[in-house]
Subunit: 190 residues, 2 copies
């Protein structure tokens, strides 16, 4: 998606540890108009898939999942990262190791929000090692839901998580794939 | 907002500890169409206020802040609850005690996303004791930003946080104010 790539080049910044900061428009401050175009791009790609629910994980996946949800006209569910007092139904749970924070979180979805009748589009802001996406896939598997595909804003192609999922047959659709990243240059996969 | 009140009555559930569960449409699963109408209601109330940024706190505030951001056409900023590797700019920070979880979080915003030139609308899904909103107000105060008002989806009126803020002069605009809540009844302020 050219609009997103241009924005990454204009406003993104590379930090030590393979971190790409895009917090001026994607995961601290949100550019709603850009997010809407990204949601529309997911819809164009997956619209024939009879999606019934969009699944993401808090917190920074929520904005782009919301944007996608508008186009598909289906509910958006965000997995939570910790069990709170507010989660009292029966739960699906899966462990996810955070690349950014170095911690292991349990992600949780109440069973009534993910069922065997669902055709799910998984949406997230970043895909790197694929750990978060595998956690979401595990929740879908527990629910017996079928997975139509995985829509990602920015994939770090050089970390391999996206290609591993593609080799397993998943339709991973990333709006920008960063192939190479150094302190002063950034190359997209074409 | 009648649409929201009807939805709370239809799908909300009361749990011990003054917890109102609305996770089928507001803070676990998201009803995007309803959230859009809520964002529009905030716009109708605050549209003359020359809002330049919308401020909320992760995670469940993000969806309703996104919905509002579309109508105001301004950036949405969500404060983060922990300092991550991805936050490397200068920060504003404030402590917030969580009513739901019983913990104290530090909320954080990078200084470049909140400035003395800003006219801020604070948006959140719930207002109970007002702790989260006071944390967001503290961030605005540190930045020298002016606060146009506070837009809330559901206020628990009986916990007093909203009325305390109103007495201090803040324009707190809540789409539904729950005045009384028991296991089998729920009364709105009229």
């Amino acid at each position: 998606m050219e609009l997103l790539k241009q924005r990454i080049l204009a406003d993104g910044a590379v930090r030590p540890g393979n971190i790409l900061k895009v917090d001026s428009f994607l995961n601290h401050q949100l550019d709603v108009a850009l997010l809407d175009r990204m949601g529309e791009a997911f819809f164009e790609h997956f619209k024939a898939q009879n999606i019934t629910r969009i699944l993401t994980v808090e917190a920074s996946g929520i904005a782009i999942a919301m944007a996608a949800g508008r186009f598909f006209g289906v509910p958006v569910v965000f997995a939570k990262k910790s069990q709170s007092k507010n989660l009292d139904g029966e739960l699906y749970t899966a462990p996810v190791k955070s690349f950014t924070h170095g911690t292991i979180n349990t992600i949780v979805v109440e069973k009534r929000f993910l069922t065997g009748a669902d055709r799910v589009l998984i949406v997230d802001d970043f895909l790197a090692t694929g750990n978060a996406q595998r956690g979401l896939l595990a929740l879908c598997s527990q629910a017996g839901a079928s997975v139509a595909g995985i829509g990602i804003a920015i994939e770090k192609g050089f970390q391999g998580g996206g290609d591993a999922l593609r080799r397993e047959g998943y339709d991973v659709y990333s709006l920008a794939i960063v192939e190479k990243m150094t302190d002063d240059s950034l190359t997209f996969r074409t």
